[in-house]
């Protein structure tokens, strides 16, 4: 089609202006893709930090406990015989089951005191669900029955504690009487999840149960599944609880990570804003381009009208050109976006380099985050930009094509 060919050839005119418009679109694109990647990386990392070091993929607890879980109550604990725990563990898709007794404690080093989260765990089972033990940077994990504890490095620093130091955990038993757990520090943790490093004391489950006077009760079961299977397996679990007349409920990690989910929602909002700005930039660039071209080609447009071209035929020529600019800008943007995201994904980006500790903002990420690849974002943006270029060229092109032929020919 001749008009199509003409539109493409027109792309080679006003090269510098076209290149600038293409570059503007490309950089806007790049900015979007880069931010999307960083935010995606932040989200993914927050999620995996929560799953791998805090909640597991699924948590099983009584709904009454779940509701009050922030208060770390010793009511509504789970008392199960080992058979049931084993049967859960043997279910398809469940890779690990770890009982956890969560309690509030005051950590005393003999001089100072601070409030911490106490976690009674059985190391072997805990290991099947969480990656935490890989991050013991000094010392080792305790065995069941030992009066020992593992704490995060940050907490150790704060309380001026070292390996083999003794600490006292001041707790309240189920009957609300005071009790203490005296333990020796056997390991120091430095996990990627800063929340764990800052305020958690791990002790053997049986030691905690004894001190809190809860028999063999525990707060919840943390389960590991393949990621993405949480909902499916959660459902199967619920069915099996019903069969066994248990009131237990399965909660996916998402339900215990509301603040992070909120972050993810904020991310969507933020990315939406960036997207609108990017599209606006593209639109202005294209409209500006079409208007300037039309002004420069007034005589030519007049000639086209004299030849009897219909208005939409002239509009079409401009639209082809504008769309071409959209496509080139989009491609260039995807290309540099590809490079930028590639670098981010490979080398990551350290917030600490900028002197920002984002864990202070409730984002459980330590130092570096890595970009994620969001391929749909590339194609989505590309298609969107072509559409926007196409649409935003219509009005100025129509304005150009609608000119009175005599005025156009004689530049009046």
């Amino acid at each position: 089609m001749f008009s199509f060919k003409l539109g493409l050839k027109n792309l080679t005119r006003q090269k510098r202006r076209n290149v600038i418009t293409i570059m503007v679109i490309a950089f806007a694109f790049f900015g979007y893709l880069f931010m999307d990647s960083v935010m995606g990386g932040m989200e993914e990392m927050s999620f995996s930090n929560i799953k791998n070091y805090d909640t597991g993929n699924i948590q099983v607890a009584y709904p009454e406990y779940w509701e009050d879980r922030e208060k770390l109550p010793l009511e509504n604990l789970i008392y199960l015989n080992q058979d049931i725990v084993d049967s859960i563990k043997n279910m398809d898709g469940i890779l690990g089951v770890s009982p956890e007794l969560r309690f509030k404690a005051n950590l005393n080093n003999g001089i100072d005191e601070t409030v911490v989260l106490g976690l009674g765990i059985s190391p072997e089972q805990y290991n099947e669900v969480f990656a935490t033990q890989n991050y013991i940077i000094e010392g080792s994990m305790f065995s069941p029955g030992e009066s020992k504890a593992v704490i995060g490095v940050k907490l150790a620093e704060l309380m001026d504690l070292k390996i083999n130091d003794y600490i006292t955990l001041l707790v309240r038993t189920k009957e609300d009487t005071f009790n203490t757990i005296d333990v020796e520090i056997t390991g120091l943790l430095n996990t990627p999840n800063p929340m764990i490093n800052n305020g958690v004391v791990f002790v053997p489950l049986d030691i905690a149960q004894q001190a809190l006077n809860v028999d063999n009760g525990f707060s919840l079961l943390a389960l590991k599944t393949a990621s993405g299977d949480e909902d499916k397996i959660g459902k199967v679990l619920m069915d099996s609880f019903k069969d066994k007349d248990l009131e237990l409920q399965a909660y996916s990690w998402r339900e215990s990570a509301e603040s992070i989910i909120a972050l993810s929602t904020a991310k969507k909002g933020g990315i939406g804003t960036i997207l609108s700005v990017v599209l606006l930039i593209g639109m202005i660039g294209i409209i500006n381009n079409v208007i300037l071209s039309a002004l420069e080609r007034t005589g030519e447009i007049g000639m086209m009208k004299a030849l009897g071209m219909r208005e939409w035929e002239i509009v079409f020529v401009f639209m082809v050109e504008a769309t071409g600019i959209g496509i080139l800008g989009g491609l260039a943007g995807c290309l540099i976006g590809f490079a930028g995201v590639g670098l981010m994904a490979k080398y990551g980006f350290g917030f600490n380099v900028m002197g920002i500790d984002i864990s202070e903002y409730g984002i459980p990420i330590l130092d570096k985050i890595y970009g994620t690849w969001n391929y749909p974002a590339f194609s989505f943006l590309f298609i969107l930009s072509v559409t926007v270029a196409l649409l935003s060229s219509i009005v100025p092109a129509y304005w150009a094509a609608h000119k009175d032929p005599v005025k156009a020919i004689y530049h009046r």
């Binding site: 003409l6 030519e300 007049g302 004299a306 030849l307 009897g308 005599v406």
Partner: protein, 229 residues
């Protein structure tokens, strides 16, 4: 039936509150195959008259008939269609598209009306370019052509669709005398060979020489109209 009939054609331009009468009652009949020039002092309305005849604009008053069809009250769209199929234009500034070759500039015009085979179109375009003396320059861009050559491309573009009527507003004004006479001679040749009706305006007496009919315009009215040769 005459090719072109004008009856009492007036054109008044509105410039703010002032009315500028560019044509003040023009009666004119042009027959098929005539080769006419419109001339007169600057500002006497030649361009305006050509624009009315060429369906680029409509008169304020009066009637224009092309092939017996009244065109003076058509819509913009209908006017465009009339131009597309019946009228060729040549302008003082050649108005070629700079990114297209001589060949493509001519091809552009015929593509608008002819959807026959590629081969026929190619044949036709090459033929008309040869007739205006541009054989061998088909692939040059406008910036690689002289003014005379450019205007010949424009003539080929106007003629390629074989219109009944070709209107040329000062087609030689930008050319030196050698190129100017060349261009007029080509118009004469086309008029003879194809029987195309030409109406052109000019201020150049040498170019005027070639016409068969002289239409003298003064203050928006025809003051003299004579045939020669």
């Amino acid at each position: 039936m005459s090719l072109l009939e004008l009856k009492g054609v007036k054109k008044i331009y509105q410039q703010g509150k002032i009315e500028v009468p560019a044509l003040r009652g023009v009666d004119l009949i042009v027959e098929q195959g005539e080769f006419s020039t419109i001339f007169g002092p600057s500002g006497s309305g030649e361009t305006t008259l050509l624009n009315m005849i060429g369906c680029l604009d409509t008169p304020t008053e009066g009637e224009i008939r092309l092939n017996g069809n009244k065109v003076s009250d058509l819509s913009r769209k209908a006017l465009a269609m009339t131009r597309r199929f019946n009228i060729g234009f040549v302008f003082q500034s050649y108005n070629l598209i700079p990114v297209l070759t001589a060949y493509e500039n001519v091809e552009f015009a015929i593509r608008l009306i002819d959807h026959t085979s590629e081969l026929k179109i190619k044949e036709r375009v090459l033929q008309i370019l040869e007739e205006v003396g541009l054989k061998g320059l088909e692939n040059r861009r406008p910036n690689e052509l002289s003014g005379g050559e450019s205007q010949r491309v424009a003539i080929a573009r106007a003629l390629v669709k074989e219109p009944k009527l070709v209107l040329a507003d000062e087609p030689t004004a930008n050319l030196d005398s050698k190129n100017a006479t060349d261009v007029v001679k080509i118009m004469v040749k086309m008029n003879k060979e194809l029987g195309t009706t030409f109406i052109f305006s000019t201020h150049d007496p040498m170019v005027m020489e070639y016409a068969h009919r002289y239409i003298n315009l003064k203050d928006g009215m025809i003051s003299a109209d004579e045939r020669r040769g």
